[in-house]
Subunit: 325 residues, 2 copies
């Protein structure tokens, strides 16, 4: 009753921010992401009748009570489905900093969903896995798949209505790159979960944000279909700015950016004016993800290497979906 | 036919951003400001029949053709009203950096309106001066008055409908301070004029921004009336964040902040959590204006003095309206 899985993190090009069903993690809007080949989580799960409690060792650390309880509740979903009641030992490692806006929960719950169901003797379809992973963390529904992935918003109260599907696989556009720029390893102040609930409840802009998503999704899907990089980058950057503008106007205001985030955002605009075709996207943390094509990668890396405030960069292509290892 | 005037700059606590009548400079929303005692413009105007062209010397510099033409058109309003057609020599000095988000046009056009009308032999009422100054720069309508000032939005096409009035004079709340923090002396990339037109035309959030102004104005007026500083600070900071969120979502995105702006914004939130009661407001430039009361001023100055990225700070109280000198 043991299995291990690897799942890649994903980065949303059209963002998810806000739940219409907090119990089922069903979002107000559909979102679109690319799964990344260089940021991943490896998780092993063993159900064992001799254990009296679940044990979670994540990045060599024991979890807090609230994290432990959240993970145990997630395993209960698997146990109930498999008809077992054994406790589990879960060991999980990210190859990148946790909870710093690098989508660790997307790869984490996708890997856990796959490893836990397999260890429990279940064989879920990708769609079933996506629905299960969603209940651990919304963005994890997308990391079940590789390449370019759409997560359908579905309906509140209807568990099976909200899941991800693959639009294009990881080999579709090999020239497309996401350069993850790591500015700072600190944990962020406000979790995505608390931040999005607060934004939905208090930002006067939240409904407008939602009202613009369908057009952004249409533009991004068209850009992907025709491999029109400029349209993709413009749409993704604008969608990111709208999400952060909505966060900024929550009460209290949520500012996930730090000074280096803004410095890099402004440099990216400047570089673009100098014909280096790069766009940014930023999630609920300070890190900046730069979108570019292979043709501009070396010039971009040279520019980034001259910036003293950058700790590390990770050049990603589209990666594969969650798999057993 | 010569006169000199001094006018103080003002800082909006409820912001002006966007014109419903670009010819008359009539705004979409009413705004509320405090006139500052330490940032001012002194302007002298002489109409002289021997001049063949208007001459403008502003901070010891000759103006560009477009700036020259804008200023000459403003003087034409005065000449038409006075029934004269002499050209003028205008000498104007700010005691602070121009066009860096420090509201130089507010004090500049208020001083010019007063000096030019007086030199032309006119004696305008404060209301008439406010209407005239507005046509040079919207925020200048407020700098005609001292203390706390409200600029009524009025109606498009109706010149006399949009003017400022004084809510409380400069002696009303002596403990109230605005600490202007100068981070950078560079001129901003996008003028307020271009930035606001672009925001109105392209931001999906612009209408929501407008829809929230009346409540912000009501809250701020109540806070002022009862000298409730926390309510004033919270309302002003939220209003500022909404304006910047609206700018961020214009196409192209307008980011008036720089890295130091964001660093200081985050520190201000942190200091507030440590019971230093300070709030920020930011205009169309990187500088940060910190709102506080006398009781916290020394602690605030000590904190600011420890920050290496600050070039200068100017501690302001509410100042007087435009006057002849």
């Amino acid at each position: 009753m043991k299995a291990s899985a690897k799942a890649n993190a994903n980065i949303a090009l059209i963002k998810y921010w806000g739940k219409k069903d907090k119990t089922l993690n069903i979002p107000f809007n559909s979102s679109l992401s690319v799964t990344l080949d260089k940021l991943f989580t490896i998780t092993s799960v063993e159900f064992n009748k001799d254990l009296s409690n679940d044990i979670f060792v994540i990045n060599d650390s024991i979890q807090s009570d609230s994290e432990h309880s959240k993970l145990s509740l997630f395993l209960d979903l698997v146990r109930n489905r498999a008809g077992i009641n054994f406790k589990a030992k879960v060991i999980s490692e990210n190859n990148f900093p946790t909870a710093s806006g690098l989508a660790s929960s997307s790869s984490g719950f996708a890997a856990l969903a796959l490893a836990a169901t397999k260890a429990a003797g279940l064989n879920l379809s990708p769609k079933e896995l996506s629905i299960l992973a969603r209940k651990g963390s919304g963005s994890a529904s997308r990391s079940v798949y590789g390449g370019f992935v759409m997560w359908e918003k579905g309906e509140a109260g209807v568990d099976e209505s909200s899941f991800a599907t693959q639009l294009f696989d990881e080999n579709y556009w090999p020239e497309f790159k996401v350069v993850v720029v790591i500015l700072q390893n600190e944990k962020k102040d406000t979790s995505s979960r608390d931040g999005m609930n607060n934004t939905v409840a208090t930002s006067p802009f939240y409904n407008v944000w939602l009202a613009t998503i369908d057009e952004d999704l249409k533009n991004l899907r068209n850009a992907l279909k025709n491999k029109r990089f400029s349209a993709l980058g413009e749409t993704a950057e604008l969608n990111c700015l709208k999400m952060h503008a909505t966060m900024l106007t929550a009460k209290p205001s949520l500012v996930y950016w730090n000074s280096q985030t803004v410095e890099l955002m402004k440099l990216i605009s400047k570089w673009r004016a100098e014909n280096l075709e790069v766009y940014f996207t930023i999630d609920a943390g300070p890190q900046v993800k730069i979108l570019c094509l292979d043709k501009d990668l070396i010039r971009l890396q040279k520019k980034l290497s001259e910036l003293k405030f950058i700790q590390n960069i990770i050049v990603c292509s589209a990666g594969s979906g969650a798999k057993l290892i």
